[in-house]
């Protein structure tokens, strides 16, 4: 098996593996394509596949914490912006008094987006927040 590190930088060594969130290959992202009007917002977004590839590269470089973060990021690629921002807001201290709401958000991300690592992280937060009494209003 080849070392994932050999793929890095993907833009130089493996541009074929780089596909945007909309499925557009990297090679097609050129000025000419942009001018032709065939490049939209989804085409300039990173894909979950590329993030997983980069996670493998990071792990291979001995950076497993970064790899886990990139894998969590891969899970969030398809999660709409407002849901991400809402979840972030719920995770901030003193926003919720009911832990169940945060648990429900974890469950929703797991169910609707297959975001298992993200959901596990939120579940962990629920446990610690409960123990540290962070489910109390700050305003």
């Amino acid at each position: 098996m080849t070392d994932p590190l050999d793929l890095y930088p993907i833009s130089e060594k493996s541009p074929d593996s780089a596909v945007s969130a909309s499925g557009m290959p990297l090679d097609r992202l050129t000025l000419e394509e942009v001018m032709s009007g065939r490049v939209g917002t989804g085409d300039i977004r990173i894909s979950a596949e590329v993030l997983r590839l980069q996670a493998g590269i990071a792990r291979s470089a001995g950076r497993d914490r970064l790899a886990l973060n990139l894998e969590r990021a891969a899970e969030l690629v398809d999660v709409p912006q407002d849901i991400i921002l809402e979840a972030y807001e719920m995770l901030r201290p003193g926003r919720l008094t009911d832990p169940a709401l945060l648990s429900a958000r974890a469950e929703m991300l797991r169910r609707d987006y297959g975001a298992h690592a993200i959901a596990a992280m939120i579940d962990e937060a629920v446990a610690v927040y409960s123990r540290r009494n962070l489910f109390r209003r700050r305003y």
Binding site: Y8, V50, G62, R65, R72, I84, R92, P93, V128, R132
Partner: protein, 755 residues
């Protein structure tokens, strides 16, 4: 008896900029402790059933949010046993040992608690910390980051200043706003400006998280460093986050292809009032373990907003270096502070940056103020627009790559105008605003926003609102640029979008050089002592050392060249000079190049005027001047002594073309002169006249008051020696060892002599 007066030196010290700095006494109970507080825990860890159940003396049941996150996600059970058992001084020695690989030390760090990390770096001197930093930092090639902001949020100036920052070599540009609602205009303007010239610069717009994510998604920005973390639970909550909310945000940035780094730094908790009586380094070590645990690729630490507070404490600068070392030791990219202006003393500022220049850093400054101090919306940086050339000089002095490159006037003028025209074209193409030629020229020439006639903040807000409301993205900007003929800039922006899709710059310590990603993965720091690690490539060193206005022999000699080389010489050599008979005679011995190859003193006086001043002075004193050309020496003492021995009175004056002059007497040892003007650059014609007068008075047997050329402490050596050395070489080059002195006649000007 009168009491001892106050020494006025204290008044002078009081007036120095340094006295604006505050120095704080050690007071751990109040949080004023750098490396150690009695309330810091001792290193400890306990693992049960594959779980960390104690960190630094605290049992699991008492874990606060930081302990809990560090226990679960930072501590590597495989490394913990060895890492916690090893003697801190032994690890400190390994950190400075070129034979111990970086990877081995990184593995140990993964098994260390915050208190253990602190115990190791506490054993190291500033020099050892800097050296270990050079070895442990992640990317081999050093880089730097610029702040680009202005007091008006003027997009024209942002574009021009971003382009200037790119030309100066910055790898990252960070902007922020005076008025939060101007963020979209700021982002668009900086993105366009950063695409002018070489392009490929990472760009950040610092604002509230949700807005920052949106601007990033629109393709304007490529990194974020507002992921702040704090070293105590109370400070974290006060900062309105938790380790989980920040870890979530970190993943969210990556999910949008945006590079992220955390922000932390000594004294943040102290400023916020939640220091828990612990040392600033211990609290920062907790932040850094947490950051590794979150999986963020890097940090900006080294004080940041708390840096001035940290440097108010004894050992504060050493502490800032120590926390940077812990960051890179944990495998994190480090934007190593050196942003907030820690002192009003330029000496302390220069000293602060020096270890980083020597050691190198992923980003030496996590915000070098590329603009004027008053334009920096983040507050003044350690170095600012005013001081960029000082920084360039330091790079050159130490042969150290601080990430910046000298720029030429013409190049910068062109780039600034191009950037302004580019953003104006984008605004026009997208129907956002029309920019008058007068505004463009005003901004291009302006050093800062106080000089510009440009957009008002209110006008900018309307542009910014329109960008946001219409959902304009980087793709729209690319199209607008290309349609208006800014093809290169459009391509540079497309390059940034391509990089985003590849995710390559999400890896540790990534920057872009020549459009290609350079990170800890494909450019790992491999320092293992002399002959390894980063050395400036030849072309880079050529660029770094080529600071503005280099003195070359050609330039210096051109400056000396006589205005009319065909004009007849004003000093005409005659026969070999003999000893004079007149008891009131004062001989003036001129050096070999005086009045010939060289025509001015270092003070800029024409040598004709100098000779006239001397001769008139001699006559005023009742003496009789005689000029001779001395050829066997160019040394002032020997010029003077030779002249004295030819003089009927036994008194003579020796003078070099650069203006150094001496009164000598025939019976003296060469270096025991009567009077000496050694500081030619501050010697006036009146001084030469007085010297002539005194020489004549000595010849009359009088004892006049010696002429004193006042100096005010300027470094004349720094100001003149380069030119002096080049010019003096012309004098010494004309020396003929055995050649006798020649009589001289002066062929022009009133008061001239003839023999």
């Amino acid at each position: 008896m009168t009491s001892a007066p106050r020494w006025r030196r204290f008044d002078e010290w009081d007036a120095r900029m340094l006295r604006h700095d505050l120095f704080a006494a050690e007071d751990p109970e109040a949080g004023f402790a750098t490396f150690h507080s009695p309330w810091d825990p001792s290193p400890s860890v306990r693992v049960e059933d594959g779980r960390v159940v104690e960190i630094d003396g605290k049992p699991e049941a008492e874990f606060d949010i930081l302990d809990a996150y560090i226990a679960a996600h930072h501590l590597d059970l495989e490394a913990i046993g060895e890492a916690m058992a090893i003697d801190p001084v032994d690890v400190a020695r390994m950190l400075v040992d070129i034979n111990v690989p970086r990877q081995k030390l990184e593995r140990l760090a993964r098994g260390m608690t915050p208190a253990k990390l602190v115990s190791v770096v506490s054993a190291m001197s500033s020099l050892e910390i800097a050296f270990a930093y050079a070895k442990m930092r992640q990317r081999r090639t050093p880089g730097n980051q610029a702040h680009v902001t202005n007091a008006k949020d003027d997009p024209l100036q942002l574009a021009a200043d971003a382009a200037t920052a790119v030309a100066l070599g910055f790898d990252e540009i960070e902007t922020t706003m005076r008025v939060a609602s101007n963020s979209w205009a700021n982002a668009m303007a900086c993105a366009v400006g950063a695409a002018v010239g070489r392009g490929g610069v990472l760009f950040q717009c610092s604002i509230e998280e949700a807005e920052e994510l949106k601007i990033g998604m629109a393709g304007f920005t490529s990194y974020a460093e507002t992921v702040s973390v704090y070293g105590s639970e109370a400070a974290f909550i006060d900062g309105d986050d938790t380790p989980w909310s920040k870890a979530f945000l970190t993943a969210a940035y990556a999910s949008r292809g945006i590079k992220a780094r955390c922000t932390s730094g000594a004294s943040a908790e102290l400023l916020m009032g939640f220091h828990e009586r612990q040392s600033v380094l211990y609290l920062e070590a907790r932040c850094l373990c947490l950051q590794r645990a979150m999986g963020v690729q890097g940090t900006q630490n080294g004080g940041i907003d708390g840096a001035p507070l940290t440097t108010s404490m004894a050992g504060g600068m050493r502490e800032l270096m120590a926390e940077n070392l812990i960051a890179v030791w944990l495998g994190l990219e480090c934007a190593s502070g050196n942003d907030t202006r820690v002192s009003e003393s330029e000496i302390r500022v220069g000293a602060k940056i020096t270890p980083y220049l020597l050691a190198g850093s992923d980003l030496l400054c996590s915000g070098f103020g590329s603009i004027r101090k008053y334009d920096n919306t983040f507050n003044p940086s350690l170095f600012n627009g005013e001081e960029i050339e000082d920084y360039l000089a330091l790079q050159r002095d130490f042969e150290a790559d601080g990430g910046l490159t000298p720029v030429e006037e013409g190049e910068v003028s062109h780039l600034r105008m191009r950037a302004i025209r580019a953003i104006a074209a984008v605004f026009a193409e997208l129907g956002l605003a029309e920019v008058s030629e007068q505004r463009m020229v005003s901004v291009a020439a302006a050093s800062g926003s106080q000089e510009t006639d440009s957009f008002t903040p209110g006008e900018v807000t309307r542009i910014s609102d329109a960008i946001r409301e219409r959902g304009l993205t980087a793709v729209d900007v690319v199209r607008a640029l290309a349609r208006r003929g800014f093809d290169a800039e459009a391509r540079n922006l497309v390059l940034m979008l391509r990089q985003r899709i590849s995710g390559d710059y999400l890896q540790t310590s990534a920057i872009l050089r020549d459009g290609k990603v350079v990170s800890a993965l494909n450019d790992p720091n491999d320092y293992q002592g002399p002959g390894s690690g980063y050395r400036m490539p030849d072309a880079r060193w050529q660029a770094v050392r080529n600071v503005r206005d280099l003195q070359t022999r050609d330039k210096v000699l051109e400056r000396e060249r006589r205005q009319d080389p065909t004009a007849p010489p004003w000093l005409v050599p005659q026969a070999e000079a003999a000893k004079g008979e007149d008891p009131h005679e004062v001989v003036i011995g001129l050096s070999p190049a005086f009045g010939g190859e060289l025509s001015r003193t270092t003070a800029g006086h024409d040598l004709i005027d100098v000779v006239l001043a001397l001769t008139e002075g001699i006559r005023e004193g009742g003496g009789v001047p005689r000029l001779v050309r001395i050829r066997h020496t160019a040394d002032t003492s020997f010029l003077g002594l030779t002249a004295a021995r030819l003089s009927g009175s036994g008194y003579g004056i020796g003078i070099q073309a650069k203006g150094t002059a001496v009164i000598h007497r025939a019976d003296r040892l060469p270096h025991m002169n009567i009077e000496l003007f050694s500081n030619a650059p501050v010697t006036t014609l009146e001084h030469y006249r007085a010297m002539g007068r005194n020489a004549a008075l000595y010849a009359h047997g009088q004892a006049p008051e010696p002429v004193v050329v006042p100096v005010d402490g300027q470094s004349l050596a720094a100001r003149y020696h380069v030119r002096v050395a080049m010019l003096y070489a012309i004098e010494t080059g004309l020396v003929v060892p055995e050649a006798p002195p020649l009589e001289l006649s002066m062929t022009l000007g009133q008061g001239g002599l003839s023999t």
